[in-house]
Structure formats: C-alpha cells, structure tokens
Amino acid sequence: MDVQERVLPKINLELCNGCGACVSTCPSQAVALIDGRPVIVHPQDCAYCGDCEELCPEGAISLPYEIVFAE
C-alpha cells in the first residue's frame, strides 16, 4: 500500500487543544505538533495502534474500523 492509500487516524482539529499527548505517546513517532496542532508527519510509520485515540483527553483522534464479512 503506498502512502497515498494508507489509512491514517482521523484528527479533529476543532476538538484538539494542542496538549501534545498524542505526540509523546506515539510509539513510532509518526505524529508531531506543527503550529500547535498534531500532524501525522510520518504516515508510513503509523501502526494504527490506537494509543493516540486512547490518550487524547479531548477525543479529537479516532481510528475507525470498517466491519465486514470476508468475501
């Protein structure tokens, strides 16, 4: 899967308070704060582990899963 197709966590900047918890918790350092807001700067390193979603105090990050039957 190339970078353009890679599914990434969704960050709602309207809910984000810029605390940086996602940056410090990301085990692969895929996210960084730019102008006080989180940006996934290394999408190829994002493991979609969900730690950022769990730790965000504002619920600004979500990692949705599509639930399907195998074809």
């Binding site: 979609y48 769990e54 949705p64 899963y65 639930i67």
Partner: protein, 221 residues
C-alpha cells in the same frame, strides 16, 4: 426558529396527524442545530423539552462515578428523546450529545404535555416509541448481565457487518467499548482473542469476519 407544518409531517411521530392538527402544533415547535460533540442535555438536569431528530446522529448515554460512559442508544433522523422525564417530571435519566452535526425540532415540556392530551395520535406514537425503547433496554440488560465481553463484541460485529442497525459500519474501539459497557483496553483484548480463535482477521483499519458461523456461536455464549 419555528418550523412549518409541511416539515413537521415528514417526521414519523407526526405522520398520523391531520393538516389542521399539524397547523396547530407547528407554531410551538422550534428548530435548533447542535455542532459535532456538542452536549444537548445532561443527566440529572430538570427536563425542559422533548427533541425530535431531523438530521444527524445523537448519542444517549450515562456516566459512571469514575467517568466511564455507557451508551444506551444511538438515534438518527426520525428519533425522539427526552420523553420519559417530561412525563414523570423527574430529572433527565441520561445525557444526550450530538455525535455529528445535528438538527432537532424542540417542543417545550408543558406544551408537549398539552399536545399529548389533545392529540391521541401523538400520544399513540409516543407509546409505540416507549415500547420500542423498552425492548431495546431489555436486550441491553440481557447483554450486559448474561454475556461476556467477547460474546457481546461478537454480536456487535455481526450486527454491524450485516447492517442490521442504522449506525454506520465504521466504529472506533472506544465506541465499541462505550456501547458494550466496557473499556477500550478490553475491546482490544477481545478482538485479539477473536483473531486467535480464527473468527476474525484484524487489518489496519478493518475487522474482517472470516468465520461467520463460529462468531454467531460465540455471540450466544
């Protein structure tokens, strides 16, 4: 902003009312919009109004003393909420939050009580809604008290994949936890367990049910 009788007719609750009745009710109905994640009402507050969802999704939930959220129901267009405290006069038993951007029609408490006395068709629609909510709550109680987290998760995954609910098929682990009365960490463990059992396959942003029959058996435990 008040609404017109024409818009009111589009809501299921008002579909059995005649033109004259809708014309009498419409001036007392206000339209309100809530932004994503905006709180509509809080558990414990004195009830002020009844809400009819026109657009968007609303999450009805309660919070434990430790702050853990238990989602009671998710409602979409056509849904109604906050009828119970309006009828028994006691505080709101749950909170409601706009999960997406939401538009609702609002009828103030005392006016709504008058309408129920005056329009039997409206009272009948509310009773039918109560019956549906009671069935849903009974099923939820059964789930929480009789099923393991793994069984409840199996049931949820099956219903989402089969589109048996109006809720979108995409869910975060946090949403699954809130709906199933547990915490996100337990969902992660339960998903890993289901994968070890060969019932699902976890992909980057996708949960694939590979053994539907096996998962159905799991859901009954």
């Amino acid at each position: 902003m008040t609404v017109s009788a024409e818009f009111l007719r589009k809501l299921p609750f008002f579909s059995a009312l005649g033109e004259d009745e809708l014309g009498e009710i419409a001036p007392h109905v206000r339209e309100r919009t809530f932004g994503r994640r905006e709180v509509i009402l809080l558990e414990g507050q004195a009830p002020q109004a009844v809400y009819f969802i026109v657009r968007g999704q609303v999450r009805i939930y309660r919070l434990s003393p430790e702050g853990r959220e238990q989602v009671l129901k998710r409602l979409g267009p056509g849904g109604i909420f906050n009828t119970v405290p309006l009828l028994d006069g006691r505080p709101n038993p749950s909170s409601a939050t706009a999960w997406t951007e939401v538009t609702v029609y609002v009828i103030e408490r005392d006016r709504f009580r008058q309408m129920l006395r005056r329009y039997p068709a409206l009272a009948g629609a509310v009773l039918a809604d109560f019956a549906a909510k009671l069935r849903h709550t009974t099923a939820l109680i059964e789930d929480l008290s009789l099923r393991t987290v793994g069984a409840r998760l199996a049931k949820l995954l099956l219903s989402q994949a089969a589109k048996e609910t109006e809720i979108p098929r995409r869910m975060t682990q946090q949403e699954m936890a809130a709906q199933l009365g547990t915490v996100r960490e337990m969902i992660g463990r339960a998903l890993a367990e289901l994968e070890r059992e060969g019932l699902i396959r976890l992909e980057r942003h996708r949960i694939v049910i590979v053994d539907r029959g096996g998962l159905e058996v799991k859901a009954l435990l």
